[in-house]
Amino acid sequence: MKLKGLADLDEVKREGLRLLYPDRVKIIVGTATCGMAAGAGKVVETFRRVIDELKLEAIVEETGCIGMCQKEPIVTVYRPGQTKLVYHSMTPKKAEELARQLAEGNPGTQNALGQIFREKALLSGEERVLGKNGGSAPLSEAPDLDEIPFYRKQLKIALRNCGYIDPNDIRHSIARGGYYTLYKVLTEWKPDAVVEEITKSGLRGRGGGGFPTGRKWRSCRDAKGQHHYIICNADEGDPGAFMDRSLLEGDPHSMLEGMIIGAFGIGGDEGYIYVRNEYPQAIRKLTRALEQCHEYGLLGDNIFGTEFSFDITINRGGGAFVCGESTALMASLEGQVGEPRAKYIHTVEHGLRDQPSCLNNVETWANVPAVMGKGADWFTSIGTGGSKGTKVFSLVGTIRTTGLIEVPMGISIREVLEDIGGGVREGHRFKAVQTGGPSGGTILVDERGATVRTEPATGAYTVGIMPESLLDLPIDFDSLTEAGSMMGSGGLIVMDETSCMVDVARYFLRFLAEESCGKCLPCREGLRQMVNILDRICEGKGEHGDIELLEELGNVVMDTSLCALGGTAANPPLSTIRYFRDEYEAHIYDKNCPAGVCKALIAYGVNAEACTGCGLCLKACPTDAVFTRKPKAGESTPKLREGRDLHDISQDKCIKCGACFEACTFDAVVKE
């Protein structure tokens, strides 16, 4: 059915609402990539099977991710007239049990993360109260999901529908207000006014650079050409970032609606989505979403029956990080090798096929319907002076609650790490957080000697004795840049004392050296030389002067590279040298890796006092380096269990694979 007007849209919305809130039990399983990696596929299968066996009148639905990736598989249970129950860490066994409980009308509280009392759709503005008087009695102790620390400080604009809809069904999006903004824009707005409104909103690109979106749109609209191309950058090459993947897998329609609105404002006639090949699920969902848009007349000729026509094609990337760069991306779209070109030719005027082209990131596009639907004034009321709205981050690394979050700009990094992420893992010390992708900086340091303490009230771990440091920096484009890092696309990677900063710098540089397109000499050769130096340092062969040489080379590469890959590549070594110089020095002068990461500088051993003789290490060792022995005279072995032998490691045979370290549950295997 092709939608022609508001009445059609309303009808689909009513249908969608019936699907979102049916008259029977609905079991919703998060099956985005993170869910699948945690085993959601088997959970879905189990529900389908058990429901069949029990002849339970229930629907099993698949959705995206609500952000708590670490606690996947996540299952939400909808029961008509009652609160939604959200369960975490599901397994087929737990799923079977839950289905049986549901058949008896009494779902258990085990593994309940929380319950949802009311659901508000940002764009339709409609709020639905789910459970009267707080829902069913046995679950009254499950907290309000919005109130648990992970969610309390979040504000979802781009992720407004993720985890709440079936991304494969356009009716679900429409039920939450999707495509209404597009209708309003196409029927009530002039293109110029659309560009004006985006400019007024202060929206800045979420792909890394933070370029004002309105200004980009204006230059593109004003540029002369036969065609105007609208492009979505869904390459997401940053290792450690998965915001775009989550959005595409959880709610492709919000991004598509943004692109269509953008096309109308800019005067675009053709659209492209450049999505990375490593995201097969995102590609499948986008493909499905485009089909549905065609079916409903939201893409193609005469959208909503108006004069406006626009269409979108998906292009799969070939797995080259540099293709995320705008000019390289366009070259790749043209079927060429993805080499960046000089920026003095602006892509907004001479981009794809030499035509005016407007390229924005997935998250940027997903913000557009919200800005247009709720107005620039609403948008500017959120965020800071120079950075409006929210930013999506993937909060990962050695933090207690990892996942995908969306927070208003201006929130401090400390709030994100401690209040939302719950601080570093139990028993560990916070060391650094890395922002801005491989070419961003590693910032926030100075926790040497800081202890981790438990806050009794919440049970959350926070980092104590925090000196005056960068942790209180507000998250916004400008302050992060000032601190020597950058917002980047939104990966926040937390590291504790088990991460070696020299190794991390080497990791990023090696990545960038491999991904350099090789067009300019300083980037191609300079990065490789820096990797060689870092390799030497990590192998214990560092020499006096290496640090200075790294700094010098880094500055040359940054100053003389053509594109931003080389232009920011030295950030990781430079910022780690700046803040962790002593770690570099320990490697070079003491031949010691304080974090116990660099293989050449560590040895595994067994702490006799802690060893129970359980033998797990022996089983794990691939090279028979672990052997058993009787305690030596005078050796204290308080934990050694009766009838067992102590275990030890033969340094000759050990290949330092770490399997024994991983296997020992008594912390008896130690790195020296």
Binding site: T33, C34, M36, A37, A38, C69, Q70, E72, E236, G237, D238, P239, G240, A241, F242, R245, S246, N277, E278, Y279, N315, R316, G317, G318, G319, A320, F321, S332, L333, G335, Q336, V337, G338, S394, V396, G397, T398, T402, G403, L404, Q434, P438, G491, I493, M495, T498, S499, V504, Y507, F508, F511, E515, C517, A620, P622, C657, G658, A659, E662, A663
Partner: protein, 160 residues
């Protein structure tokens, strides 16, 4: 050159012809065509590249430039199952390098190579976007999260 001749006779070019036909008028879509070829054959066989070059009137060098620039392409045949070890930042700090070595030991094959029995090809990928479950490996599009060396063998055993 005996091996090359053998390769040539091994490859059924009919599917390639059909794939090329779909892109006949669109030279921009060479990457998409190569992706389709890669999907069908599991890699980019040389005779197919030659065929594309001939049919689309493209220089060899251009096709090889594309085939070697983009990670998604392989010029060598791959095993029955493709193991992609995620080496993204989070996986890295959570032990991916040691996991990769364990896989290499278990399969007796280095990253980039294929096991002697053709069962696995081992490759690395920069990030699969499932960082919260690091370290992650992907086998034939199926992701396995929170992997440890101890669990590795059981996971690999699922793929024959």
């Amino acid at each position: 050159m005996a091996t090359e001749a053998a390769l040539k006779t091994d490859i059924d070019l009919a599917p390639a012809e059909a794939l090329i036909a779909a892109y006949m008028d669109n030279r921009e879509a060479t990457i998409a065509l190569l992706q389709d070829v890669q999907k069908h054959y599991g890699y980019l066989p040389r005779p197919v590249l030659e065929l594309i070059s001939e049919r689309l009137n493209l220089p060899h060098t251009q096709l090889f430039a594309l085939a070697t620039f983009y990670r998604a392409f392989s010029l060598k045949p791959r095993g029955r199952h493709l193991i992609n070890v995620c080496t993204g930042t989070t996986c890295h700090v959570r032990g991916a390098p040691m996991l990769l070595e364990a896989i290499e030991r278990e399969c007796k094959c280095k990253a980039g190579g294929t096991t002697a029995d053709g069962r696995f090809t081992i490759e690395t990928v920069n990030c699969v976007g499932a960082c919260a479950l690091a370290p992650v490996i992907v086998i034939d599009e199926e992701a396995h999260g929170r992997l440890t060396q101890a669990k590795l063998k059981k996971v690999l055993d699922q793929y024959k």
